[in-house]
Point group: C3
Chain length 164, copies 3
């Protein structure tokens, strides 16, 4: 087996979840790893695509089902729910205030930081097809679209793989 990773190793994360708390966990790990000089890839799939959706985009979809899913599934980095104790949006608001008080960056700041540190963002092709989303629906930080085979090549070369 040829190990192709750099000396410092690399980290590949599948971000399947669109929950604020899990997205923050993914970005804390990603930015910490990048700051250590590791190569970092995030593969956004399924609900995780919400994390990189552009703010204020139109309702997308080529048919009523995709439109309906995208209406209910609206959201972007500033509008995600919590995986537990969401309490109709109060949970995320409290978490954001608590993070700000302790000077922990917000998810949007983590996304910026990740990009500055060279973390690579990939959107999952199959999920986009199923949900009727196109490249233009995502923030500029994510302009690469790949399938599971490309994800697996990156994962196979990484010494830390996580599914979040």
């Amino acid at each position: 087996m040829t190990v192709k990773t750099n000396e410092k190793g690399s980290v590949t994360i599948v971000l399947f979840s669109g929950d604020l708390d899990k997205a923050i966990a993914a970005f804390v790990i990603a930015t910490s790893a990048a700051s250590m000089g590791k190569e970092v890839n995030i593969f956004f799939t399924f609900w995780g695509l919400n994390v990189i959706k552009r703010e204020g985009g139109l309702i997308k979809g080529q048919n009523w089902m995709q439109k309906m899913l995208n209406i209910m599934n609206r959201g972007h980095a500033k509008k995600l729910a919590l995986s537990k104790m969401n309490m109709a949006g109060m949970g995320p608001m409290m978490l954001k205030m608590m993070m700000a008080q302790k000077r922990v960056p917000s998810l949007r700041e983590f996304i910026d930081m990740a990009r500055e540190l060279g973390v690579k963002f990939y959107a999952c092709e199959m999920s986009m097809t199923v949900m009727g989303l196109v490249k233009e629906d995502f923030i500029d930080e994510c302009q690469e679209i790949i399938g599971a085979v490309s994800y697996l090549s990156k994962a196979g070369d990484s010494n830390v793989n996580l599914f979040i």
Copy 2:
């Protein structure tokens, strides 16, 4: 450390979740990896055992608690819920229709494809004991039952490990 994996690496997935969306994610990764020539193992545990339950099986269990859990936890590959926006079954129905429209295989088709590609299925012994399930409760594709130690030997030899 002796690396025992084949040249192309191997992938080991713990499928803990019984949610349709997560099961599909697991099978997309598994079948893609197998099509690349990688060795792939899926260890079905806890709610993930629902994915490989035989259709139309009887209510199983040796006591009222196991029976009650298995009644509420009924299901097989065609009856799983979504992790988000299940909407009393409408979410899974919509997802299935959207996948079919885009010619993405269904979970049942993914299971068949996985087996044809040589993906190995393992049921978790401890979860089966706790839930009162036996080998006959599972689809023919899954006839190997292993414990956590055997799972860990496979995981230790894999270069991609995921907990889904």
Copy 3:
């Protein structure tokens, strides 16, 4: 890439979830790996910190938000909910009874076993800061507090990494 793991490999788990079923899955894997002679690290973060909270601790927090979160998020190893079918606490009760009947250890017993086998417990510094928790809030088994960078060094040296 210098592989620093011992001959038997090592396992590093991020325990993000505070659900009883997921915590049990993490400890089954951790104790099995340790019994095989592998080095095992568990990094408790976010809701996962509930697993190692001391029983009967006071409501903690330096402000009303932290206090409120900690009231609603009360709990320790004996009080966790299930990720599915919690049914106002009946689910966890049934699972505990079913595990006891089959002589599967309880979560509290798994924690003790893990420590005896040398599994290392680490609490996530950032989550503690956000939630207003201090070292004294945790059981004696967990007295090391680390950040994401230290977690990543351990993860980079492990051949099995899981996010649960």
